[in-house]
């Protein structure tokens, strides 16, 4: 339990209590939010997906210091992976496949999640390999291009072979089925009825917790230290025997894995995917979550993802009614206001909290300003 609360390392009882408290809040959350309708629970489920995405991107940008502006491509790869393997799209377009699979494609989520992760990791390496020597702005531009290439491919791969159905997207995607229980239907447990969104929320919550554990463990490992070393000074890292090429590729691959898994979940949850969900703006928003929360600091990244994913939902439900109340008509559209406030938030954060809302804690003070430290240092 102290894994989640490193500041309570010396108080295991407090750490267990804190973990149970947070768990209780997260489990109860849909019932509290759900009193105002399912839209709120849906927003919570999306918040969990974004936490996964942001933590995956944090491996690349926060830990290894590689600025990636095309991260959403891996989300797209995962989503289309699931869409193709769990919808009638392929069988209805390719008679040969239909003959081989008369029931159509209905692959189990347990097969598609690892496959989505693996394919995304492969794309991570495909992106990583040619950009190993690039840094900073140059890297950002190439990754941005990569993200757009994937989206444009998805948009245009409906001819000559209809692989992705182009801008219309793929529909009729199977919902997640776990042990015969479809998450698309309300689950009646006897004492409580759980609607579909609740079930998805809990599934995403479990995956998010797994993601958090994996990230924390990676951070405190030999590999995590190697990532931070190349972020801080890659020449010194090389001189210490770190194979910078392999370590960077691993960062791209592992970061992409989380993107791929959240993509499969997104496709299953929506039942529909189309290229417009994977625009450059999405990449930028996920990056904003990481930077605004606290680059490289897991709790900060989670906070950033939750804030930035719930905030637009909140606006959508308040801006219009408030304006109607005040002025009797809508002056500013919620979407316009959202972008304005995003921009404002970015400027304010960069001015007053350049390391993010919840940055990694500072360790130690400058010994030269401390009493007697200088004498002690050279003695």
């Amino acid at each position: 339990m102290t894994l989640f609360f490193p500041s309570l390392r010396n108080k295991p009882a407090a750490a267990i209590a804190a973990t149970f408290f947070v768990a209780a809040v997260l489990i109860a959350a849909p019932f509290i939010v759900g009193t105002m309708g399912n839209a709120g629970v849906r927003a919570l489920a999306f918040a969990a997906l974004y936490v996964m995405l942001a933590l995956g991107l944090n491996i690349v940008v926060g830990f290894a210091g590689l600025l990636d502006l095309g991260y959403i491509a891996f989300y797209a790869v995962g989503a289309y992976m699931y869409a193709l393997l769990a919808s009638p799209h392929l069988t209805s377009n390719f008679p040969a496949l239909a003959a081989m699979f008369p029931q159509g494609f209905h692959n189990s989520i347990w097969m598609v999640i690892p496959l989505g992760a693996a394919v995304a990791a492969f794309f991570g390496v495909v992106l990583g390999a040619p950009v190993l020597k690039l840094r900073g702005d140059y890297l950002a531009i190439v990754t941005l291009g990569f993200g757009e290439i994937i989206r444009i491919f998805l948009n245009n791969l409906n001819a000559p072979l209809n692989l992705t159905n182009g801008p219309q997207g793929i529909t009729l995607i199977d919902p997640v089925k776990i042990a015969g229980v479809s998450l698309a239907r309300t689950l009646d447990l006897g004492f409580v009825k759980l609607p579909s969104v609740y079930l998805y929320y809990y599934l995403f919550l479990i995956l998010t917790v797994i993601t958090i554990i994996v990230c924390i463990r990676l951070q405190d490992s030999r590999l995590g230290r190697a990532w931070m070393a190349i972020r801080e000074d890659d020449i010194a890292a090389k001189a210490m025997g770190i194979n910078v090429r392999n370590v960077k590729l691993l960062a791209f691959a592992l970061g992409a894995t989380f993107g791929g898994v959240s993509g499969t979940m997104f496709a299953a949850f929506q039942g529909f995917v189309s290229p417009e969900s994977f625009s450059l703006m999405e990449s930028i928003i996920v990056l904003a979550m990481v930077v605004l929360g606290g680059l490289g600091h897991i709790p900060g990244v989670i906070l950033g993802a939750v804030l930035l994913s719930l905030f637009p939902e909140l606006l959508r439900h308040t801006v219009v009614p408030v304006q109607e109340q005040l002025f009797g008509r809508i002056i500013i559209d919620a979407e316009v206001l959202r972008m304005m406030l995003y921009g404002l938030a970015m400027v304010v954060i960069m001015l007053y909290r350049p390391k993010g809302l919840w940055p990694a804690p500072e360790h130690g003070v400058n010994p030269s300003t401390r009493d007697g430290a200088k004498a002690g240092a050279s003695g």
Binding site: R217, D220, S221, A237, M240, P367, S368
Partner: protein
């Protein structure tokens, strides 16, 4: 001095050439460093000391030259392979991982001698945990060894200058080097700090680690080194014990310029 003769040299480099455009930065340079020595490499500015150092550690590719480490040939092609082969270096302008703690900096040094994979870390396998524990223990031991254990949890950038130097040496020692290569470790240090650096280096030597020292500070080199090579304009102009080198007229000319050698006088000043 325990300049042991007989056994295979820790490092042997011979016939090293490096040219930058029209400038012959290194011309047929070679050194032989024996186990347990502190080997000094000195020379005026632009003599090629750092170039030679960067060639040895894989940062520059030499035009020609043969290299042997602990009796086995190695090719200084990539820096991380050089570290794995057993040469650990420090940098003239300290290059720590500033946001990481002192302890983490040294733990990074253990990277090359440990094997845990990403999967091992995610699953926290028993072998990964044991290895992690050993890394931490060794890193703390090394911080203690260089005398900055009390700053283990401080971010590297918050340490005082002299302590940053010590931390860099601890990080290099963490790679279990056959040869510890120090690029101007005394640069920017005051007299007290130099004295304590000198103590630390003799301590490291007496514990069996061989050191290659590139240094500007003639006093430090002459007082500490077992053997010295003097470079000037990319060529070796003298090689021998500090006492021999100090008497060498070519060295005196290189350092003072001109032919009018004030016999003994400058060399006497250089003696500690």
């Amino acid at each position: 001095m325990s300049a042991a003769a007989g056994d295979a040299p820790v490092l042997r480099a011979a016939g090293v050439n490096k040219r930058f455009g029209g400038l012959q930065a290194l011309a047929d340079v070679g050194v032989t460093i024996r186990r347990g020595q502190i080997y000094g490499l000195i020379g005026p500015n632009g003599a090629g000391k750092t170039t030679f150092f960067n060639v040895l550690t894989g940062l520059y590719t030499p035009d020609s030259g043969s290299f042997e480490l602990g009796g086995k040939p190695y090719s200084p092609s990539e820096p991380h392979k050089v570290a794995e082969a057993g040469i650990a270096r420090t940098f003239q302008n300290i290059r720590l991982f500033p946001e990481m703690t002192a302890l983490e900096n040294v733990m990074v040094g253990r990277h090359v001698r440990t094997r845990a994979t990403a999967l091992g870390a995610v699953l926290r396998t028993p072998s990964q945990r044991a290895e992690e524990k050993a890394i931490r223990a060794r890193a703390l031991e090394l911080l203690d060894y260089v005398g900055i254990r009390r700053y283990a949890d401080f971010q590297a950038r918050t340490l005082a200058y002299g302590d940053q130097r010590r931390l860099e040496i601890a990080r290099a020692l963490a790679t279990d080097p056959k040869l510890l290569a120090l690029d101007e470790p005394a640069a920017g240090m005051n007299a007290t700090e130099k004295l304590s650096l000198r103590e630390l280096l003799s301590h490291i030597r007496s514990d069996g680690t061989t050191i290659l020292l590139i240094e500007h500070d003639v006093k430090l080199v002459m007082g500490l080194c077992d053997r010295v090579t003097v470079l000037d304009y990319g060529k070796i102009i003298a090689e021998g014990t500090p006492a021999e080198v100090q008497r060498n007229s070519a060295v005196i000319v290189a350092y003072l310029g001109g032919a009018q050698t004030a016999t003994g006088q400058p060399a006497a000043q250089a003696v500690p």
